[in-house]
C-alpha cells in the first residue's frame, strides 16, 4: 500500500520534471535547426551561434542589460542589506509602517510599478527612458528582496557576538566588518544573486522605462518574438540556460546554497496580512 502510493508519487514527480524541462530541451534543439522558421526541422547546423556575435543590436542589448544588472546588484545589495540589518536589530517607532513599505513592492503587480515610474520620471523630470531610469526602476523592486533575505539571516544571528567584539575593544565599524558582515555574508550573496536574476530577466518594468538606445535583452527578444523570430533567439537562450546552469552548479558546490538562497521567507508574507 505504502510503496504503491510512493510509486505513484515518484511517477508523478518524473512527469512534472519532464514538463519543466521539455520546453527548454526543445528550445535548445531548435537552436541547431537549419530552417529560419522555428517550426520544422530541416537539418543540423551551428551557424546561428557565430551569427549571434555579428548581430550588433543583440550585442548592444546584452551590454545594456549587463550594465543595468551590475548597477542594480551593487546598489540594491548595499541598500537592502543595511535595511535588513537595521530591521533585524531592534524595535523602533514606525517599524510597522517600514515593514509595510518594504513588502508593498513585492505584492504590487510589476506593470503598476512600471507605469508609476514612467509617469514619475515623465511628469517630474520630463525624461523618457534611459539606462539610468531602468537601473533606478530595477533597484526599486530589488531592495525589498535583499532586505528580507538579509533580515532572516540577521535574526538568526546571536546578537551577543557583536557585543562580545565590542567588549573586547573592537570599534563599531571593526565589529561590523569582522563579525557582523561575515555572519550575514551568505544572505548578502544570495540576495545579490537574486537581484542579478531579477534584473537580467525583467521585461515589464523595463519596457516602460526604456528609451532609444537603452534596449535591454528581454525587450529585444520580446520584439523579435512578436515580429519574426530567427533561431538566433534560440541560440542566445541556449547560452543563457548554459550560463545559469553552470552558475547554479558552482554555487551548489561552493556550499551554503539552498539553506540561504530562499527568495521569499514564507512567514514574512503571511505575517504581513
Amino acid at each position: 500500500m505504502r510503496t504503491g502510493r510512493n510509486r505513484w508519487l515518484t511517477g508523478f514527480a518524473i512527469l512534472i520534471y519532464a514538463f519543466l524541462f521539455a520546453p527548454i530541451v526543445i528550445l535548445i534543439i531548435f537552436s541547431f535547426n537549419v530552417s529560419r522558421r522555428n517550426f520544422v526541422w530541416l537539418g543540423f547546423t551551428t551557424d546561428w551561434y557565430p551569427k549571434l556575435f555579428a548581430n550588433r543590436d543583440l550585442i548592444d542589448a546584452l551590454t545594456v542589460t549587463l550594465e543595468v544588472a551590475v548597477i542594480a546588484v551593487v546598489v540594491s545589495t548595499a541598500i537592502g542589506s543595511v535595511l535588513g540589518l537595521a530591521l533585524a536589530r531592534k524595535r523602533f517607532r514606525g517599524q510597522g509602517a517600514s515593514e509595510v513599505l518594504i513588502l508593498l513592492p513585492m505584492v504590487t503587480p510589476e506593470i503598476v510599478m512600471g507605469i508609476s515610474l514612467l509617469i514619475f520620471f515623465g511628469q517630474l523630470f520630463g525624461q523618457n527612458g534611459s539606462l539610468g531610469q531602468i537601473a533606478i526602476a530595477h533597484i526599486t523592486f530589488c531592495i525589498s528582496y535583499v532586505a528580507i533575505v538579509v533580515r532572516a539571516r540577521a535574526r538568526g544571528m546571536d546578537p551577543h557576538l557583536e557585543e562580545a567584539a565590542r567588549d573586547l575593544g573592537a570599534s563599531s565599524t571593526g565589529a561590523f566588518w569582522h563579525v557582523t558582515l561575515p555572519l550575514i555574508a551568505p544572505a548578502v550573496a544570495a540576495g545579490a544573486m537574486l537581484v542579478f536574476a531579477l534584473s537580467f530577466d525583467d521585461l515589464v518594468v523595463t519596457s516602460f522605462n526604456a528609451g532609444v538606445g537603452s534596449t535591454t535583452l528581454p525587450i529585444y527578444i520580446y520584439s523579435s518574438i512578436k515580429f519574426g523570430v530567427t533561431p538566433q533567439i534560440n541560440a542566445i537562450s541556449t547560452i543563457i540556460v548554459a550560463v545559469v546552469a553552470i552558475a547554479l552548479f558552482i554555487s551548489w558546490r561552493v556550499g551554503s546554497f539552498g539553506r540561504e538562497a530562499r527568495p521569499v521567507p514564507e512567514d514574512r508574507i503571511v505575517d504581513a496580512a
Binding site: I111, T140, S237
Partner: protein, 291 residues
C-alpha cells in the same frame, strides 16, 4: 540588552541604527511610494488632444469608464487565469515538494536546483518555447499527427488553455520553493504520533500535515497569484490578440493607446484587486486550518 561595559551611549546607538534605515526607506519612499501617489492622482485626471496628462479638473470619469461592461471580460480573464494558475500550481507543486522533501534523500538539493533552473532562466524565453511547441505546425501537433491521433492540427495556441498552461509553467517554481521549505520543516514524529493514535493516511494528511504546512501553501498561493495578475507577456504571446486582460489593456494604454490617466485608473484597480485577493487568500486559508 546593554551590558555595563558597553562603550557607546545608548542614544548614540539608537541614532546609528536609525541612520541605517535612511537609505532604504528613503529610496522606497521616493521611487516607489511617491510614484504610486502620482498615478493615483493622475487616475483622476484627463488627457488633452496630444495625449498629455491634464490635471486641471479631477474627477471619477476614468473609474466610471473602467466599470463599463465592455471591460468586464478583461477583469474576468485576469482573475480567472490567475486563480486557475494558482490552484494548478498548488495541486502540482505540493506533491512535488512533498516528494523532494520525503523521498529526495541525499539528492534533495540537486532536485531543488533542477526545479529552480527554469526559474532562473528567462521567463520570456520559456514562454517562447511554448509557442514553438503549441503552434498549429509546432512540435505537439507534429507528434500527434505522426502518431495518427489527429488528422488536422489542434489549435492549442491562442486559447485559454495555452494561457493557463504557460502561466502555470512559468510560476510553478515560485510555488514549489515555499511549499518545499514548509514541508521539509515538518516534524515527521508528529505525523508518526498521529498514525500511532490511529489516524488514517488521509486523516494524518488532513489534520496534521496540511495545517502545519499552511504557511507554505499561503506563500505559494500569493507568490503565483500576484505575478499572474500582473502578467501581460503570457496572455499576449500565448493568448493572441483577442485575449484581453487588465494588464494587457494597461500596457496598450501606456504605449500605442496613449491615455495615461485611464491607464493609471486601470492600473490602480489592478493593484487593489491583487492586494484584496492576496489578503483574502491569506485570511481564508489561515482560518480554515487554525479556526
Amino acid at each position: 540588552m546593554a551590558s555595563p561595559a558597553r562603550p557607546a551611549a545608548p542614544w548614540r546607538n539608537r541614532l546609528a541604527d536609525g541612520l541605517l534605515l535612511v537609505p532604504g526607506i528613503g529610496w522606497l519612499l521616493l521611487f516607489f511610494f511617491v510614484p504610486l501617489v502620482i498615478i493615483f492622482v493622475v487616475s483622476f485626471g484627463t488627457k488633452d488632444a496630444t495625449g498629455h496628462v491634464v490635471l486641471g479638473d479631477l474627477g471619477l470619469q476614468n473609474y466610471f469608464e473602467a466599470s463599463k461592461p465592455e471591460f468586464l471580460p478583461a477583469f474576468g480573464n485576469s482573475v480567472r487565469y490567475s486563480l486557475l494558475t494558482t490552484i494548478l500550481s498548488l495541486l502540482i507543486g505540493y506533491p512535488i515538494a512533498y516528494w523532494i522533501s520525503r523521498h529526495g534523500g541525499r539528492h534533495k538539493i540537486v532536485l531543488l536546483i533542477l526545479v529552480m533552473l527554469p526559474f532562473w532562466t528567462s521567463y520570456l524565453i520559456r514562454t517562447y518555447a511554448w509557442m514553438i511547441i503549441l503552434r498549429d505546425n509546432g512540435v505537439a501537433n507534429s507528434i500527434l499527427m505522426a502518431l495518427g491521433l489527429t488528422s488536422d492540427p489542434i489549435p492549442f495556441l491562442n486559447t485559454d488553455f495555452s494561457v493557463v498552461l504557460g502561466m502555470t509553467y512559468g510560476f510553478l517554481p515560485f510555488a514549489i520553493l515555499p511549499l518545499y521549505v514548509s514541508i521539509d520543516r515538518l516534524d515527521d514524529d508528529l505525523v508518526q504520533a498521529g498514525r500511532d493514535l490511529y489516524a488514517t493516511g488521509r486523516g494524518a494528511f488532513l489534520h496534521i500535515i496540511l495545517p502545519l504546512t499552511m504557511p507554505g501553501i499561503i506563500a505559494a498561493a500569493v507568490l503565483t497569484f500576484i505575478p499572474a495578475m500582473g502578467d501581460y507577456v503570457t496572455p499576449d504571446l500565448l493568448g493572441g490578440a483577442q485575449t484581453s486582460t487588465i494588464a494587457k489593456v494597461v500596457q496598450v494604454l501606456f504605449t500605442s493607446g496613449r491615455d495615461w490617466p485611464y491607464g493609471s485608473a486601470l492600473g490602480f484597480l489592478l493593484m487593489v484587486i491583487t492586494l484584496a485577493g492576496t489578503l483574502f487568500a491569506i485570511r481564508s486559508l489561515r482560518q480554515e486550518t487554525f479556526g
